[in-house]
Structure formats: C-alpha cells, structure tokens
C-alpha cells in the first residue's frame, strides 16, 4: 500500500521496523488525533500473535494489539485492570484502543498504564536482535518519552499473575464518559498473619509521569494495621512532600488535594 505497511507476521513487522522509518500504528485512536504529516505507518492490526491474552504461572500476558473491549470481555484479565479500562473514553474508542498504543503514546494519563504501575507490570519489547523485558516504570520515562528504540516494537504487557483481591481504583475526570483523568488512583493492599504484606499506591496527577513512591510504601510493609494507623498522618505527609505538581488542565492545588484524599480513603478502606 502507498504510504504504509501492513505485515501479517511479527517477523515481517520487525524487519520493516528495522529497515524503514515508520511509526507503529496499533489502534490509531491517539495517533490520528495527533494527525502527523509525512509519516509512514506500520500497521500492526493483521498480526494475530499480538492480539492474544495468555496466562502462565508467573504472568498474565496481554498482547500489544489487544483492544480494551477485548480485555474487558476476557476472564483472564484481572478486575482491577477492567475497572480502569472500562472508564476509558467510550465504546467506539475502547473498540479500537489497545494496550500497546496506550503505552506507546507516552501519555502520563494513560488509564491502563496506571494499573501497570500499581501492579509492577513489565513490558516485552522485540527487535530483530532479540527481546527486552523492562519494568513499566522504567519504560515510561516522562510524558511523551518512552524507552523504545527505533527498531523495537511493544509486543506485550506482563501483569504478575496473582489474585488482586484487595485493591482500589478511582478516576476523577470532568465527566463520566470521554474523560481524561485529572487524577486517578490505583492501590493494592494485602495482609498476611496480621502484617501488611503488600502496599502499593500509584497516581495519575498530570505530573508529567506516573507517580509511585516505593520508599514510602516500604515504611508500611511488615506493620500491623494498628502500627500503620499510628503512622498514617506521617505517611500522608510523606506523600504530600513528594507529590509536587505544577500547572495543568486543572489547578495543581486541586489535583494534589484530590490525590491525597484518595490515598487517605484507600488507607481507611483497608482499616489503616
């Protein structure tokens, strides 16, 4: 075709990616809004292996071309992810938008990527030279800057395979549908033998990047709920010090207040 490539296999796609200057095209819902001129697209939608959702002992593998609608309807996808992607835009966008595209677009407000941050997901990248598996927090550097080399393609997202029983996901936007997050929050909480075993809190706050502070999280790991309760104000203050926001679509003060409110609600919800 004129002005683009539509290979049927990943191998062919990687070859084109290595030899030509192309823009990988997954669902198109962000790319077409950007309306780039004089680019050649590498259309990935004919590559069946990128559209699969698989589970093994360690990971839930979500192919880069899996659409949000496909994932919402797949039992293998954890509910925490479904909660987030169900609130992306509206059906016509969810029918086209993909996991790979959400990552590749490099937005700091990508709803699926927030969950990937909260659960310590990894991203599998491939080139003709081989593959790289990187932590999502390393892949997403800052807004519009991702760790993807010119000859690489995003192949799949790897979510740790675990139950995700105790979590909270909240999205605050200007409206119910077609909303871009002003603030969004995803948190995981697990207890074992009366001690906090897992505590993870990830934020979208229009901060230029996703926010997660593992050093603060560590201060609660191994504590009982009672001990954690005594530390609660200190923990929230630590987040308050770290969440430094500047001008955005809505005021920095509003976004910070909402972020901390969601954090406090999350802790309260799980008895802290």
């Amino acid at each position: 075709m004129v002005g683009g490539y539509a290979p049927a296999t990943l191998e062919k796609a990687l070859r084109i990616r290595a030899e030509e200057t192309v823009v990988p095209y997954a669902g198109g819902t962000d790319l077409m809004v950007q309306n780039r001129k004089n680019v050649e697209y590498l259309f990935l939608n004919k590559i069946a292996e990128l559209k699969q959702i698989k589970v093994d002992k360690d990971y839930i593998h979500i192919g880069a071309l899996v659409t949000f609608t496909q994932a919402i309807n797949d039992d293998k996808v954890p509910q925490i992810m479904k909660d987030a992607i169900s609130k992306i835009a509206a059906p016509a966008i969810r029918n086209a938008g993909t996991f790979g595209g959400n990552l590749g677009n490099g937005s700091d407000k990508a709803d699926s990527v927030l969950i990937e941050f909260a659960v310590d997901a990894k991203v599998r990248l491939m080139s003709l030279k081989g593959e790289r598996i990187v932590n999502v927090e390393d892949f997403c550097i800052t807004r519009r800057k991702i760790d993807l080399k010119d000859d690489e393609l995003i192949v799949e997202v790897l979510l740790p395979n675990k139950p995700y029983k105790n979590y909270i996901y909240q999205k605050v936007g200007g409206r119910n549908s077609l909303a871009i997050s002003h603030v969004a929050f995803a948190g995981l909480f697990e207890e074992k033998d009366g001690k906090i075993q897992e505590f993870s809190a990830a934020f979208i706050a229009d901060a230029g990047r996703f926010l997660r502070f593992k050093d603060i999280e560590q201060t609660l790991i191994g504590k009982s709920k009672k001990e954690a309760k005594n530390l609660k104000d200190k923990v929230i203050k630590a987040y308050s010090d770290k969440i430094v926001l500047t001008a955005g679509r809505v005021s920095a003060e509003y976004r910070k207040t909402v972020s901390l409110n969601l954090l406090r609600d999350f802790l309260t919800w799980f008895g802290v």
Binding site: M1, V2, A6, L31, A92, L178
Partner: protein, 157 residues
Amino acid sequence: MYAIKFILNGEQTEYTGNAGDRLLDVLRDTYSLKSVKCGCKEGECGACAVLIDNTLINSCCVAMGAVDEKSIVTMEGFKKTPQFKVLSDAMADFSAVQCGFCIPGMILASHATLLLNPHPSEDEIREGLSGNICRCTGYNAIVKAVKKASEEGDGLW
C-alpha cells in the same frame, strides 16, 4: 504497491490513496458518503462513527491502512437493513431527531449496542451511546427510542 482492499457497504472496494489518509475524509470526499459527519476529529463526539467488521469505531481515528481486508458499513449501507427500519420508526415515535447531525453516528451506536445486547437496560443503552454527543435532544428521547426498538425488533438483533 498494492491497493487497500475493503468492503464498503457490501461492495468490494479498492483505495489507491495514501495509507495514512483518514477514513472519515476518504468516506466523505472520495466515496461521497456524507452521512459520516465530521464533528471533532478527536474521537470525542461520535458523529463519524461507522461499523468496521460490525464493531463501532470513530472513523476520524482510523487511517486507511488499518481497514485493509475489513468490512465497513456507514448509514448509507445500514439504512437498507430491517434493523434500521425499526430504529428509524422508534426514533420518529419519540421525536428523537432534531437537527440530525449526530443521528447517523447515534443510529450506528444504537445498532452496535443492540448487537451486543438485544435487550439492554436504560443504563446499558446510555453506556452504549456514551461516546455520541447530541446538542439538541437531551438524550432522553433517543434512549427511549432505542429501548422501544429493542422491544419492537425482537429477534432482529
């Protein structure tokens, strides 16, 4: 170089233009399918929605290269179906059409909603139409019309 081949409203079609061209523009300007409205070009209004392989997609957010070997239905094609007749009658019953600009996208979104769930609740209808903005009706009449269509068209979806 090969042409982009797809089925457009039931007819095999070949497009020899650029793969990066926007489906919305090509449908309107190359194939004169003027039911496909250009509202926002950002995927936010739903006025350009079409069915691609029976799935609702905003044509402003699709490049031509992505429709190779796909089947596209616009309102011009959909209006020949019995489902359209049911939806059209129901919309008329509730005076659900005012200026009409959103209606092609709204009808296709209604059809897509009913394809997935032939007997949706009001909430499910509102969710199905949540990507289609209407500035005239306030939505209630449209939602009632889709509900009625789901009853009158029992068995069609």
